[in-house]
């Protein structure tokens, strides 16, 4: 029985919460953040490109 085993038996709910649910929710949160970030970046790129095209159009 290592230290972790004893701790795990004494604080089962904390173990479950910290180990499983918190990690799962953290992963969800990271995924959401990544999706939002990706949307922001893509929008930025699209706007940049549109501006560049506008300029090119103006030159003509």
């Amino acid at each position: 029985m290592s230290g972790l085993d004893i701790w795990m038996r004494e604080h089962t709910l904390a173990y479950i919460w910290l180990g499983s649910y918190a990690v799962a929710l953290l992963i969800f949160a990271i995924e959401i953040a990544m999706v939002i970030h990706k949307r922001k970046i893509t929008l930025q790129q699209v706007r940049l490109m549109r501006d560049a095209e506008d300029e090119a159009g103006d030159e003509k």
């Binding site: 795990m8 089962t12 499983s20 990690v23 799962a24 959401i32 999706v35 699209v46």
Partner: protein
């Protein structure tokens, strides 16, 4: 019943539709998560054999199930994209892969955390565990292949082929692993949830629904970004309010 389904298979209309749907999926996912967690941790009683530990099931089983279904859905979209050359299907397949991989990872992780108190080991080479691990590899292979090809059209087609080959192999892998494991091993402790308490069932189904809704919301959000990226040259994109503003 004269819904024009093809209308929604065009990125143009799908983009708007998805934008409208995402908040609803996200909101209901959040509510169901709250309810599911409440039932799971407050209403559901302690299990006679496992004590509190069994409560991991409420996240473990939904993520396992979803990770497996998502692969099939992904392969389906990939096949559609490859055969009918529809742009949206390929984008959907690409958008699903990361979510599927993450659910597979959650399943492995929560399973490992459950295994430690139950079996005394983080990992056991059990058939189900092993095939879930291989599923994660299949997802990662798909993602890696897609990421290493620069030309998006080529990337779509190549990884679609991989997904299809993979989905043919998934059943073969599943049965071979099961056979491998049962042939020379009888002693791995197996959790047999015989008759589940009604509250446990409720909690699990609520969590399953919540996870599905979450997955749909995230995939839709991701596919919207992909549409933006791929179609940035088209007129309709440059006329979107979020692009203009």
């Amino acid at each position: 019943m004269a819904i024009n389904w093809f209308k929604y298979s065009a990125p143009t209309t799908f983009y708007g539709l998805a934008g409208k749907l995402i908040p609803w999926f996200a909101l209901s996912a959040a509510i169901l998560f709250a309810i599911g967690l409440y039932i799971g941790f407050v209403v559901a009683p302690v299990d006679a054999q496992q004590g509190e530990f069994y409560r991991i099931i409420f996240i473990h089983v939904p993520s396992s199930i979803i990770s497996m279904f998502l692969y099939l859905i992904m392969a389906g979209y990939a096949a559609l994209g490859l055969i009918f050359n529809t742009r949206l299907s390929a984008m959907m397949a690409t958008a699903i892969a990361p979510t599927g991989a993450l659910f597979a990872f959650i399943s492995l992780w929560t399973g490992a955390l459950w295994g430690k108190p139950m079996w005394g080991a983080w990992w056991v080479w059990d058939a189900r565990l092993t095939s879930e691990l291989i599923l994660l590899f299949l997802y990662l292979g798909y993602i890696a292949l897609h990421a290493s090809i620069d030309d998006p059209r080529r990337a779509d087609r190549a990884s679609a082929l991989l997904a299809i080959v993979g989905s043919v192999n998934v059943p073969i892998i599943y049965f071979s692993v099961q056979w491998w494991n049962t042939l020379h091993q009888g002693s791995t402790i197996k959790f047999t949830g015989t008759s589940m308490h009604i509250a446990m069932q409720q909690a699990m189904f609520t969590m399953l629904a919540a996870c599905w809704l979450y997955a749909i919301a995230v995939v839709l959000a991701r596919v919207r970004s992909i549409i933006l990226e791929r179609e940035k040259h088209t007129l309709w994109i440059s006329e979107l309010p979020e692009v203009k503003g």
